[in-house]
Symmetry: C2
DNA sequence: TAAATTTGCGCAATCGATTGTATTATTTTA
DNA sequence: TAAAATAATACAATCGATTGCGCAAATTTA
């Protein structure tokens, strides 16, 4: 099988140069106590011999992997792509690698992912929770081992883990208020699992806006589903069957909002005049659908950066997490035609 | 710093039970030469003590990581999400983990990613190439070390690496033929870097279809860009400036096709009657744009599965790669309103 | 019942890099 | 020039799991 020449080790280099492996090791990591010329020679020889440091050995000895784990619900969104880009930038600058996995919105897979991260001994963990995660016991082993765990976007209240998110309640309040200002009297809200802060807070913001506008909260105007495209179609059908239809809809994500809109439009509903619609996330899709979708924008890239900086700060600079665990990032309402009645 | 109790090792378990570490090690991996009762006791004790196998030590000794690397141009597409899901399913079933990274379409980052994979000693590597990758020298170290490298979708001709892709030429031929059948006489083609098989083959298929329909190939009807949304807008503007406009456009990906269409429509062009349009990939967006976009569908999930199975087969079953290196998967033309003139 | 197997377990080397503690060579200081 | 300080290198233990080999006990076979 392995006709391939054996991997070159620091011992091979040491033998060749008649020096000790310790010096080779130190030279390769630019230790100050090694003579400059020796260093140069060693580095050159290592290169010539095709040396590749064995990270297993190194990690074993150093008890660290320089790998940060990332667990997200899904990868196929622009938001997550931005988050990842932000994380990668910071990690690369600090010589850390990223281990990515997706839970596909299930706690089961999230647990499996966490275990994989544990076994592969990541030095830190960044997490955005799945829909149905009811507790975060699966992250306890990390905390016990002093591996920093940081939640972003879909966070979980925990004293041991910092959290990064936007003010979802405020954002939802703004969306709902905006719809009301456009003349909506019966605003519907479509959202997902109330286990997740992002959806619970958005519902809270929605309720608060109703309240502040003296509109009575109507339970029948709230739909909780998985915010998938299919769910959007179903929700639309449900709306079409309603005798007393809403005149505004605030959907907690864009792809669901879009499919819902499409279905409504096909059924002859005029948007925004019969029903005004708003989404959340500012997905590229929002500018493809006609009329363009009002939505909430927030910067995934920045969120990724902040999360990564927090871990790095903890790992590299040995800083304890700031006592105030929450970092709240900015978001903005983007008004487009799907909700514009007054011009 | 680390007040956390030290990690439990097999030696701790061995001491506690007054047996050897060798037996503990064997018991934990269910070695047949260990008594069933001893095994049970060891497993139970390990659990109680909160034992976690140290993969560094294990990997060092076994010279394998059980990690497969994945390098893709971008993560934020539905196609890639499907691919990844397919890969993960197969890998999980075989007790392998996945290490994901994105090149963001640049060779520089692709090389950096490859090096990270090398350092972290993945057991196998799955790759879809960036736009501007001109050679695959950065994968040589893997091949030298007998680490299987498999290309999918955006492949590179190489004797050492199997390739999985669709028949892009045929698919493009079908798209172009379809447009011609709808009455198009001047079909434009918008595509990307001809370094990549997918785009070179699509151009070839486009040319072949023209030829077979006795239409002379016109260089000025081919635009090569990066197929981004912005590029689609630019391309549309370029078209609008043309004195002799095309009456059909075949774009090599959907998001570019969509933004191009949007721009054309805004300028008063009627699609499909003035210009018929077709894309590639069957992104969800194709059913959001009006008129819905004709496109080519191919199954990312299956492609991921096949790629992963190939590595696993090589690693687990020690099978050499099949002499016929290419696996060609099925694709299908999906005709929608953006190109339907005849009904 | 003696011989041959099989079962169960331990010894000790090994994987390759790191690092605290010598040790030797060189330079500086007194 | 001897003593002290510094620079450069080497020694050897260590990280924790794996595994070939050996040995004893238990079981089977003849």
């Amino acid at each position: 099988m392995s006709k391939g020449e054996k991997d070159v080790t620091i011992y091979d280099i040491a033998d060749k140069l008649n020096i000790s492996a310790a010096t080779v090791s130190r030279a390769l990591k630019d230790h100050p106590r090694v003579n400059k010329n020796t260093k140069k020679l060693i580095v050159k020889t290592a290169e010539e011999m095709g040396y590749l440091s064995n990270s297993f050995a190194s990690n074993l000895r150093k008890k660290s992997s320089n790998i940060i784990g990332l667990i997200v619900p899904r990868l196929n969104s622009n938001f997550m792509a931005d988050v990842i880009a932000g994380i990668e930038k910071v990690l690369n600058n600090n010589n850390y690698n990223l281990f990515i996995s997706q839970s596909l919105e299930t706690m089961t897979k999230e647990i499996a992912n966490a275990n994989a991260m544990l076994v592969n001994r990541v030095d830190g963990l960044l997490v955005s929770l799945a829909y149905d995660t009811t507790n975060i016991d699966h992250f306890d082993p990390f905390i016990k081992r002093q591996v920093p765990v940081i939640f972003f976007d879909r966070v979980f209240e925990s004293d041991s883990c910092p959290q990064i998110y936007i003010d979802n309640q405020k954002a939802a309040y703004e969306v709902t208020s905006h719809l009301i200002k456009q003349g909506c009297k019966r605003v519907m809200h479509i959202t997902a699992s109330q286990l997740r802060n992002v959806y619970a807070d958005r519902l809270a913001g929605y309720k608060k806006a109703l309240e502040d506008n003296a509109i009575k909260f109507d339970e029948s105007l709230v739909i909780i589903n998985d915010l998938s495209r299919e769910a959007g179609i179903q929700a639309a059908q449900q709306i079409l069957d309603m005798p007393n239809k809403p005149d505004g809809i605030f959907v907690a994500n864009d792809s669901c909002a879009v499919s819902c809109m499409q279905t409504l439009i096909k059924a002859g509903i005029n948007i925004p005049h019969d029903i005004a619609v708003a989404g959340f996330n500012n997905d590229p899709m929002t500018c493809v659908i006609e009329p363009n979708l009002t939505t909430v924008n927030y910067k995934g890239y920045e969120m990724g950066e902040v999360a990564a900086k927090l871990v790095i700060d903890r790992l590299v600079n040995k800083n304890e997490f700031h006592p105030a665990h929450g970092v709240i990032l900015r978001s903005e309402l983007i008004v487009r035609e799907s909700s514009t009645r007054i011009t």
